[in-house]
């Protein structure tokens, strides 16, 4: 047993001739942990991660809800693809999205991710991933927003195009381009003209310093401007300047290295594998695979601790063509809204939901396969899965689809079907926020505020 311990904040530092230094972050190594592998050696809890995993167009509640709630609860047909992670799975059924709306999808998106309806085409409150990011700091990026399919009905509402919001008029649009995501999070912000060779670290340090000098000048301009602006505009400029400071911080540390832990490999550039943006509105498996892999590795290597994945956007006009020629119809307009059948008998909807759950399984399966301490990354994560509606055909607001996958470092019981009839959807958001230490007593806006958590989700 090694007696020397490394701090989680240990970086490999190089002394470079320019005086600039670059740091290399590391994934969690055994040498950093206590003897049980359940916490850092210094007694701090292991890193925890949060992800909103969003899909559009809802579910078929009788085929989604498990039948029983006891210890012998079993997965439903639509949740069967999640068998590989049942031990980490909490199904929350019976929640109601209580705000009736003439625009059910933008409202469903807004309430399921922020706890409040949209107003003036914008979210009103920050979304749960941003609430968690504000208290669960430490990753290279404050948060990451990624997506698989950008199929959309188009419309002015921000909550149709994003599930992550910093506040009103402040959407975080997902990155749908696999190559762009790869470049952003795994190659860092170094100049594309970096050449290789023996003095590469030194050259990168110089480029980093040069870029930071540029951004310093830009920040100084911003500070001067801020004094001329009213309150709302000052906040908007502050967002911009904060983002620049984030870039500067990342410019001081290189992205994670390769192959330190063989179970966590930095993936290759998806472009080299021929996987590109979904331009046909099909949510292809190949795009999901690369996006899920990149996000999982990002979470495992502390590239970020808070993220959102949009498999499909609210009310997505997606075509699941890979499921067969008989699925070549608009999933929202045609399949959900006009296919014959009640909420247990729309066959094509069912196939789309199962396909979606397979995509989810691919992502959480990766988290479950990445060892960390005595367990896995999924043990230390919480993935919140939801949609913009319950049964899409009638925009049902009862039996809202909510899953929690992961145990959030031991805070969540897992392996449970929790029946929450009579409870409002935002209660799950309040629960999640407080699991991560936000210490909120309420969540919501005037007229629709919750103060109750779903305490039965927590580990006793």
């Amino acid at each position: 047993m090694p007696t020397k311990r490394l701090s989680r904040r240990t970086m490999l530092r190089g002394a470079l001739t320019t005086g600039a230094s670059l740091a290399l972050p590391l994934p969690v190594l055994d040498i950093m942990l206590n003897n049980n592998g359940t916490a850092f050696a210094q007694g701090m809890p292991l890193t925890r991660r949060f992800v909103t995993w969003f899909f559009g167009n809802g579910i078929l509640p009788p085929l989604w809800n498990p039948v029983s709630t006891g210890a012998d609860w079993a997965l439903s047909e639509e949740l069967a693809p999640l068998a590989n992670v049942k031990d980490w799975l909490t199904v929350v059924s019976g929640l109601e999205q209580q705000i009736a709306s003439g625009s059910p999808h933008p409202t469903g998106s807004a309430v399921s991710t922020t706890g409040a309806d949209f107003k003036n085409n914008s979210a009103v409150l920050p979304s749960i991933d941003q609430i968690v990011a504000s208290v669960n700091k430490g990753g290279r990026f404050p948060s990451l927003e990624v997506g698989v399919s950008n199929a959309t009905p188009n419309g002015p509402e921000n909550t149709l195009h994003a599930v992550s919001h910093r506040g009103p008029s402040a959407p975080n649009f997902p990155e749908f381009n696999p190559h762009a995501l790869f470049t952003r999070i795994f190659t860092g912000a170094t100049s594309p003209s970096t050449s290789g060779g023996d003095n590469m670290p030194e050259q990168m340090a110089k480029l980093s310093l040069a870029k930071r000098s540029i951004l310093d000048a830009v920040l100084a301009d911003g500070d001067e401007l801020s004094n001329l602006l009213g309150a709302a505009d000052k906040r908007r400029l502050a967002d911009h300047l904060e983002a620049i400071r984030g870039i500067e911080t990342r410019l001081q540390t290189l992205p994670p290295p390769i192959d330190v832990n063989s179970a966590i490999q930095i993936p290759g550039d998806p472009l080299l594998a021929g996987v590109t943006t979904d331009t046909n509105a099909e949510a292809p498996t190949a795009v999901n695979q690369v996006m899920a892999e990149m996000l999982a590795v990002a979470l495992a290597t502390d590239v970020t601790r808070s993220a959102s994945m949009v498999f499909t956007l609210p009310a997505a006009h997606v075509f699941f063509r890979s499921l067969g020629s008989d699925m070549n119809d608009d999933f929202h307009d045609t399949i959900c809204h006009t296919d014959a059948g009640d909420n247990a008998h729309q066959t094509r909807v069912n196939r789309g939901v199962i396909y979606t759950m397979q995509a989810l399984s691919a992502f959480v399966g990766r988290l479950a396969a990445m060892p960390e301490g005595a367990g896995t990354v999924l043990d230390n994560s919480l993935v919140y899965v939801t949609s913009c509606t319950s049964w899409g055909k009638v925009h049902d607001r009862k039996e809202w689809p909510v899953l929690l996958i992961g145990k959030a470092g031991g805070a969540i019981q897992g392996n449970q079907h929790y029946r929450a009839v009579g409870h409002a959807l935002p209660e799950v958001l309040l629960t999640i926020a407080n699991v991560f230490g936000a210490n909120l007593t309420t969540l919501g806006t005037n007229g629709a505020v919750v103060s109750n958590e779903l305490s039965g989700l927590r580990r006793a």
């Binding site: 009736a100 709306s101 625009s103 085409n121 419309g155 912000a189 310093d216 001067e224 400029l237 046909n280």
Partner: protein
Amino acid sequence: MEKNRLAAAAGREPLLHPVQRCAAKRAHLRLAWMAGALGALACSTTDTPSAGNTELSGPTGAPSSVVSEPGDETLNGDLQNGSQPVPFAPAPGSYRRLTSSAFVNSLRDLLGGPVTVDVSALEPDSWEVGGLPTVSAASVSISALGVEQYQTAIDSVTSQVFADAGRRDRLLGCTPKSGTDIDCFRSFVSSFGRRAFRRPLTPAQLDRYTQLIASVAATLDDTYEGMRAGMTGLLLSPNFLYRLERGEPAPSGNGFWRYTSGEMAARLSYFLTSSTPDSTLLDLADQDGLQTPDAVRAQAERLLSTPAGRQSIGDFSTQLFQLQIIAARAKDAVLFSEYTPALQSAMIREISAMFESLVFDEDASALDLFTTHNTFVTQELAALYGLPMTGLSSNDPSAVQLPSDGLRAGLFGTAGFLSLYASQKEGSPTQRGKFIRNIVLCQTIPPPPPNVNAVLQDAPPGVVLTKRERLTQLHETNPVCASCHSLMDPLGLTLENFDAIGRFRTSDQGLPIDVSGSLDGEAFNGPIELGQMIAAKPETAACMVRSLYRYGTGHVEIATEAPVLDALTERFRGNGHKLRELMLDLVSSDAFRYVAPTEL
């Protein structure tokens, strides 16, 4: 009411107050008995401004001073023609980020020529306010990813420029003798910075960017990389990426502020050229020479006579009709193998070219947009329309005449409009109709009532229905749906001869297509008649004025701007709906030049 009596005397149908208009619309419904049940339905008023009242013959009082005479600082914009007298007061200022197209165009003009920017790799424009990215750019807050995307794009374009020594040297304006040639660095920062920031740099800014160049030149041991860093920094600065429109106290002392000449230069250039102010505008701004309506109008005339000025009309229509979505919109590849990027691009450009030609070449009524047989097609688009392809290129649209006996004319016959308001597989009468109501007539359709039950009766197996029959079943037999869908569907159903990419077809699954319909009680048969009817409606002209007003000023009009809007609409009607004149009138108006003070 006074105006109703006058209208009745003039033999016209009385104009109703917006609330009454909405109730009358409901009473119009075939299922009028449902109007009571729909009482809970939030019925939005039509969005037209009180400009609708200018239908009456002439104002009964003094003409409003929309276009001030030189030296006339009177800003009382009261209308005396029976509308509620509202004294003019300007809207507040704004802090607006460049839209994607303004960003790309500005880079092109600052860097002395085209640069390669992947617009799809930038933060998407927001549409949250006023139906226009230009307006929404003043309220939306950029994400962290968006800021990084700017950094990537600007690093790329400055690299492109510096890779071309001739272009680089022209932009730098001097050849640096060494990594410490401060004079060259400072002269570059001063001249380029003034153009990038759209005003001269402050001493602090001059020092800042000069020192940046020297510092990076030393760090990288590369003087040109130092200068590129200076250029990159100036373009990453909020002073380039955002336009502050704050104003300064105006000498007339009426409580209004006025936009500075520098701000006016940018307001004019971004409205009328979709790009950064040129040197003439910047020089005038330095001399505070954009403070009178005459000076402003003269510059506007000059800008509109340039190619970029011509294109501003196309940019306006592209934004208003949301045509850029076409570039990212997929269609069923099996059904529509001719739907290629070349066709998509041609679809977008056709509408711009059609509108620009009406306004600049023909000096015609802007409302001819809904009836014209003159259009501009590439090879791909000609093939789609069944027109001869001889002499047509794949890149640049050429002028052609649509057949005078066909069903295709004006905006409603363009593949771009028909394709955009359609699904991947079929045209959408409801979306096409909603577009006409919202965008062409400025009428708001209320959203569906909450908890609407959208369950359909299933068609008997083996029965083939036309789109009209399917929609009738869905939208019109269900009274909760019919109240609003009867406002939209008939307008779109008349376009059913055009499929999901605007191809002409004679039947719908083998069944004949019925193109009859009615618009607010007036019957029409087919898209040609609909286009003519739309062009003749007073709402259409008023709506076009309002849309251009929002686009040009960059904000949604507030109540105290009504006098200006009303007067602009009246002049627009009176001069034959000339859009170029409307643009000139707008920029010389008080609303474009004055601003409410900023509260800090």
